[in-house]
């Protein structure tokens, strides 16, 4: 029981969502922001009443809050949620919380989830950016680490590496990202690692990088842990997947759990649709069905499994994923080029930033990344 308004951190909220605890969210942003992007969870119920409709009082909100439930008030930054939350407390409600830092901090929270162990010791971790649906990976073996699809909040990886006494050796991007700003180069520069990017995505890149190409093998730790690159174009022309330790398959934005990547974010949907089909229906099919697919995104909260893990066996996805079950080529072409979801927020500026062509301030980068990732063809 609480009698005052209490702050809830993005991390606390993440554990509520992952543990499927019941939570009622009063989202006080304007309705277009709410409809565009909101906090989701299997046991989360949310109602949207903009704070500016509650300036005269919170009676309207009181009517829609279920009795005796924990209430979390959410807004863009946090000011409006405190404004409304305090009024709810004054009106006599118990257990009223506001989200510290609002949707901005929700967008930036990364939750490390252990996926599994490696054959010669070591482990692989998935860093789940739950608010935006981005997934990145840290492969750890014998005091060394490689990070795949590093997110902008690079201090999270640094801290994790320090806690586990790891030297970050490589940061690798599976492709030039359009929905979020890569932290790979920044982190590599800071800790003395090398930054790897597929050269076909790097035509316009203005900085030095190492070329990630098919057949390349990177070793992490002194044990034989190999990261093997597989050229798999379609979402971008350079998109490259990684096979780790012969068991984990990092598919970037080509193959997700419940959908497949969209080929249009670099403006070349028609050119790349054939590559995307070939990658998904031929190249990937030649690989072992037992590989564990680890994508760079999830689109729906239902894709989060036990403890927040997002993964599936490749062979199973050939049955369950609608993107792998369009046997007619014309149908596939229609599905991945026509009727696509809205593009991710500021995707062109994000690509320019990832090429090093523009250097927005931290605050601008934060604004650019607001909203869901929208990298799959089935995202709404």
């Amino acid at each position: 029981m609480t009698t005052a308004l209490v702050g809830m951190t993005a991390q606390e909220l993440t554990s509520i969502v992952l543990n499927k605890e019941e939570l009622f969210i009063l989202d006080v942003r304007n309705d277009s922001d709410f409809n565009d992007w909101k906090i989701e969870g299997e046991s989360v119920t949310s109602v949207n009443i903009p704070y500016f409709d509650l300036l005269e009082g919170v009676d309207e909100a009181l009517g829609s809050i279920p009795e005796g439930k924990k209430v979390l008030v959410v807004c863009a930054k946090e000011g409006s949620s405190k404004f409304v939350g305090e009024q709810l407390v004054e009106a006599g409600l118990n257990e009223v919380y506001y989200l510290e830092g609002g949707m901005k901090s929700w967008s930036e929270h990364l939750e490390p989830v252990k996926i599994g162990d490696l054959k010669d010791g070591g482990s692989i971790y998935q860093f789940v950016r739950i608010g935006k649906g981005c997934l990145s990976y840290m492969i750890v073996s014998n005091g060394e680490a490689a990070i795949v699809d590093t997110l902008r909040m690079s201090d999270v990886y640094e801290k994790f590496a320090a806690e586990h006494q790891l030297q970050i050796k490589y940061t690798i991007d599976t492709h030039l990202h359009a929905d979020h700003i890569s932290g790979g180069r920044k982190l590599a520069d800071k800790v003395g690692a090398t930054y790897w990017l597929p050269p076909k995505d790097a035509d316009e890149v203005v900085f030095q990088y190492d070329k990630l190409e098919e057949g390349q093998v990177l070793t992490v730790g002194s044990t034989k842990l190999n990261i093997q690159a597989v050229y798999s174009p379609g979402h971008t022309i350079g998109s490259t997947s990684l096979i780790v330790d012969d068991q984990y398959f990092l598919t970037g934005d080509i193959l997700f759990i419940e959908s497949i990547g969209r080929p249009d974010l670099a403006g070349k949907a028609e050119d790349w649709v054939g590559d995307l089909r070939n990658t998904l229906y031929n190249r990937y099919k030649e690989l072992s069905d037992d590989l564990i697919v680890l994508p760079a995104h999830f689109g729906k909260i239902t894709e989060l499994g036990e403890g927040g893990k997002v993964s599936a066996r490749l062979g199973d996805l050939y049955y369950s994923n609608p993107g792998l079950n369009m046997h007619d080529e014309a149908e596939f072409r229609r599905a991945v080029t026509g009727n696509l979801p809205q593009q991710p927020n500021a995707y062109q500026e994000i690509r320019q930033t990832n090429m090093g062509k523009i250097t927005p301030s931290d605050e601008e980068q934060r604004e650019m990344e607001i909203g869901p990732n929208r990298c799959a063809i089935h995202d709404k």
Binding site: N30, S32, D33, Y51, F52, A76, K77, G79, F83, E367
Partner: protein, 191 residues
């Protein structure tokens, strides 16, 4: 950057959400109906929120200019009776009739009697701006012999303007019904 005349300026620079809207609400509560307020804000979120708030409260959101870091929002306080006010001036023409005249290049004068901020964001190309409140003192800017078509948002202010012009001896005056709220023809705005 155009300077737009407003009846009141409210400085919300440096304030974070919800304060720009809280202060705007307080200020508009004090404002006389039909008057225009200019709200200066640096919180980018204020743009969508002020539009949403205006829509839900019935106040008229006119538009926003960006000047460096500062957003300048323009709002006009709703007049509850405006939509219902009976128009009395007998000589009217419809939006479509005016649009046709303009398309046929007929020599007509379009007189826009809304507030300068309303005119700045959305007007009929070539329209002259004299707000209703200034019409009497600026009447010599108009030519009595011309065909004058008076326009406002809903036809209410233009009705009063037509009556005033007729009293002053103007012969060829018509009220455009309904006015800008239903205008589908070409428009222009300050850049």
């Amino acid at each position: 950057m155009p300077t737009i005349k407003a009846d009141q300026t409210l400085d919300c620079k440096g304030l974070a959400c919800p304060m720009p809207i809280v202060k705007t609400k307080k200020a508009i509560d004090q404002l006389e109906a039909g008057k225009v307020i200019e709200v200066l804000a640096t919180d980018k979120g204020s743009l969508a929120d002020i539009q949403g708030w205006a829509k839900n409260t019935g106040h008229q959101y006119l538009g926003t200019y960006t000047e460096g870091e500062v957003l300048k929002h323009y709002l006009r306080k709703a007049k509850s009776s405006e939509a219902k006010e009976e128009t009395k001036f007998p000589h009217t023409l419809t939006n479509e009739e005016l649009q046709k005249k303009l398309e046929d290049n007929e020599k007509v004068t379009v007189l826009d009697v809304r507030e300068p901020a309303e005119y700045a964001f959305n007007r009929i190309p070539g329209a002259i701006s004299i707000p209703l409140g200034e019409l009497e003192e600026r009447i010599q800017e108009l030519n009595e012999e011309q065909d004058i078509h008076v326009v406002c948002r809903t036809g209410a202010r233009s009705d009063l303007a037509c009556q005033l012009l007729a009293d002053k001896g103007f012969k060829n005056v018509r009220n455009v019904i309904p006015g800008m709220s239903g205008w589908t023809g070409p428009t222009e705005s300050n850049q």
